[in-house]
Amino acid sequence: MPTEPAKQIAEWAERIAEHARAEGLDFYDTLFEVLDYDQITQVAAYGGFPQRYPYWRFGMEYERLRKQHAYGLGKIYEMVINNDPCYAYLLSDNALVDTKTVIAHVYAHCDFFKNNVWFSRTNRRMMDEMANHATRIRRYVERYGIDEVERFIDTCQSLENLIDPHSPFMRRRPPRNAPRPDKREKPQVTRYPAKAYMDRYINPARRLAEEERKMREAAERSVGKAPASPQRDVMLFLLERAPLEDWQADILAIVREEAYYFAPQGQTKIMNEGWAVYWHSTIMTNYCLEASELITYCEHHAGTLATSPGRLNPYKLGVELLRDIERRWNTGRYGVEYDSCDNMEQRRKWGKDKELPGRVVGLGSPGRQKIFQVRRIYNDVTFLDEFLTPEFVEDQKLYHYRYDPASGRMVVVSRDFDRIKEQMLFMLTNHAQPYIYVLDGNYRNRGELYLGHRHVGVDLDIKFATETLKALQAVWGRPVHIHTVIDDAPMLFSYDGKQSTQQHVDDSIDQPANILDE
């Protein structure tokens, strides 16, 4: 029989769900579970799941979170996982007002998981899948011993970021058992749809011919090459070609699958949290808050949005930007006309005339429609790229900082909009991970693996790169190399199973099958 507080929570969950649906949120069924702090810490250490495979890293995370809790530095109010049905965990010693806030917050996350396009290819049965992974790895532990299995998991974790987060959305290569394309056949050139009278402008013959020639050349070049073109999903390449035992391949596949599952959450952190804050605040302040709860609610809400120097709070940034978008679309501050207006006075007053009494705000307003669209099709990078404005940067007092070698501290460099935006996009692009590609799986015809790093202005950490190469070599078996740029000079780092070497890349070094075009 449910206890009194549990019943209360269930009732509130129902009521808040109704409000949320009325406001247009659309989410999977959500199951709430109430845990005490130790249990929720464990679940959090497991990335939100009740079960994971045996691995010390979860223990490390657990220790960190537990200490954090014990010293009063942080508290996990809730956990929610992207699954159908959605599972959410609430902390048992939350006050009712916190629980209500958290429930509203959770529904918004669920809505985001369900509707944001970047989550569309994630496994919605991940709860079961994680349990399966745990069982499989446990079985390997029983058979091969914890040390050996764990060592291999370590190796795979080293390579965990070498995936291609965009690949679920496109077919980069023909399916494995597809018939080989006939060489004499003309390659299929992209033709944009166009009305007949526009066709020669939209699809000019010159471009088509050029493209066809390129494709033919690429096809010729790729004959007998592995991979046929630079491949970002290094883990997949290893899975398909590295000489692994079955159990090893399975573990690699598990780590890869989980990396893909978690990738969209990294790609949409700011939006997802912003969206959740937007909705818990909308729902709480409009429907669910009682007078006696106001102070506690405000305090915790403010705590969530607190900023400190040198930090960007994703909750704060997300919700402010969403509100800014809503405001702009409600007052017509978008489009060519607004963008090209450089009279600041005029810009500031833009759309004031639309702010008439009785104007629709919230549900049904153009601003609200816009943010629903934003939550559907954007991720953090596109979100900031599209909607960050100089006014917003000024309002939020954003600045760009940099390490100052002279003082050994972080120093504010400027408040220049372009610099700030560039820096933010850099930090979010590819989750601040370097872009690494497989360039050749049979380098120098000796079965060596050759990776390339697409250098975008920041060097790799050499120490870590050297160690990671060792992990890569453990999987690949033959010598491995990575081509990168250090201090503006192209370098090749190698590990042959015994020793690490590094050399400047010049003409004496053999070319891999593919090269990264600049």
Partner: protein, 364 residues
């Protein structure tokens, strides 16, 4: 829960009991202590599995708040920054007491095996109230338990009236606290810290050795009562100083290490005879002794006077921009057969921990 096992395994890795190959990826911040208010910030240990990632020149980010160009960003750049979004360095500053910190440190260290020596016994007896018995002096009566027993008896016998609750003790209800005598380790030990404060030791080097000495001190004081510490500083001449001076003195001049050893020898001879005291000597220097002959002299004092009379001699050499740093080699050369001598090198703050570990992991 299953995570206990993961946690246990992680602890074991950190302690170095299993998976030695992972220890090189251990992350730790600085073991920095503020001496004054007994409060200190420590990082949480972690293991950072290597991945391809951006290096140092990505130290930039976006923050929010007031501040003009040129102002420092307090709290260091984290937030969403390179390295901020990813897992990895879970460095989290928490406030803990010095005692707690010594415990954390001690999880991986062994206590020195301080032996009973001298007429002041090494252990002290202390009475601890830890049990309950049926008889004893009234002054030790355990009121709550006695009360409870009386209540229980009255309820059982039906004599208890909730309307007029009145509890009357009887002889058989009464229980008394009882004690156990515990021996707590108390040591007849003296630690002599010797530090090179010559000109070749820069501020950074001094900072390092002071940190290390501070931690050794904290660790030993935490575990033994009544440890005496003596401090010696030297350049070409040595002098005994008090703790405060030792941690704050700035000096210049050349280096003659033998002066410190001679000073230590006098100190031991006068106050701490080896049959009565456990003696621990620590010497910190950049290893840049003024002359070979003096280094030989040092070895002589060590092997003839100091080492036979002490439990352990720890020599910690910090890397220095100047100087040869040759002293450690001299020690190895002449005294390699001495088991009571332990040497370590410290190049930066990260090494302090390993150095302390080297000193104490053998449980000497």
């Amino acid at each position: 829960m299953k995570i206990r096992k993961d946690h246990q395994r992680f602890r074991q890795i950190v302690k170095g009991k299993i998976r030695d190959d992972l220890r090189k990826f251990l992350t730790r911040g600085e073991l920095l202590g503020r001496e004054g208010k007994n409060l200190i910030s420590i990082p949480v240990r972690g293991i950072d599995i290597p991945t391809f990632r951006y290096g140092d020149n990505s130290d930039a980010g976006v923050g929010t708040g007031d501040g003009k160009p040129g102002d420092t960003v307090d709290g260091e750049g984290d937030g969403i920054g390179p390295g901020g979004t990813q897992e990895g360095q879970h460095i989290l500053e928490v406030e803990v007491s010095l005692d707690e910190l010594a415990d954390i440190l001690g999880q991986e260290l062994q206590l020195p095996r301080i032996q009973p020596r001298g007429k002041h016994r090494l252990t002290s007896e202390r009475d601890r109230y830890s049990g309950i018995r049926q008889s004893g002096p009234e002054s030790l009566r355990h009121f709550r338990r006695t009360f409870r027993r009386a209540l229980r008896r009255q309820i059982m016998s039906g004599a208890y009236d909730p309307e007029r609750p009145r509890i009357v003790f009887e002889r058989r209800d009464k229980v008394y606290r009882s004690w156990k005598t515990v021996l707590s380790p108390q040591s007849n030990a003296v630690i002599v810290y010797m530090m090179d404060v010559s000109g070749s030791m820069g501020d950074e080097q001094k900072e390092l050795v002071r940190l290390e000495a501070f931690w050794i001190d904290a660790w030993l004081r935490r575990n033994y009562q009544g440890i005496e510490s003596r401090y010696i500083v030297h350049d070409v001449r040595a002098a005994e100083v008090d703790r405060e001076t030792f941690y704050h003195l700035r000096e210049d001049g050349g280096t003659r290490i033998s002066s410190a050893f001679r000073c230590a020898r006098e100190l031991l001879d006068q106050h701490y005879p080896a049959q009565e005291w456990n003696v621990y000597l620590f010497h910190f220097s950049d290893g840049d002794n003024s002359s070979e002959s003096d280094s030989r002299e040092c070895c002589k004092i060590l092997s003839e006077h100091l080492l036979p009379n002490c439990n352990m001699f720890g020599y910690c050499q910090v890397a220095s921009a100047y100087g040869s740093g040759n002293f450690i080699n001299v020690l190895h050369e002449h005294l390699s057969n001495q088991e009571d001598m332990i040497t370590s090198r410290v190049n930066n703050k990260d090494d302090i921990y390993d150095s302390i570990k080297a000193f104490f992991s053998k449980g000497k």
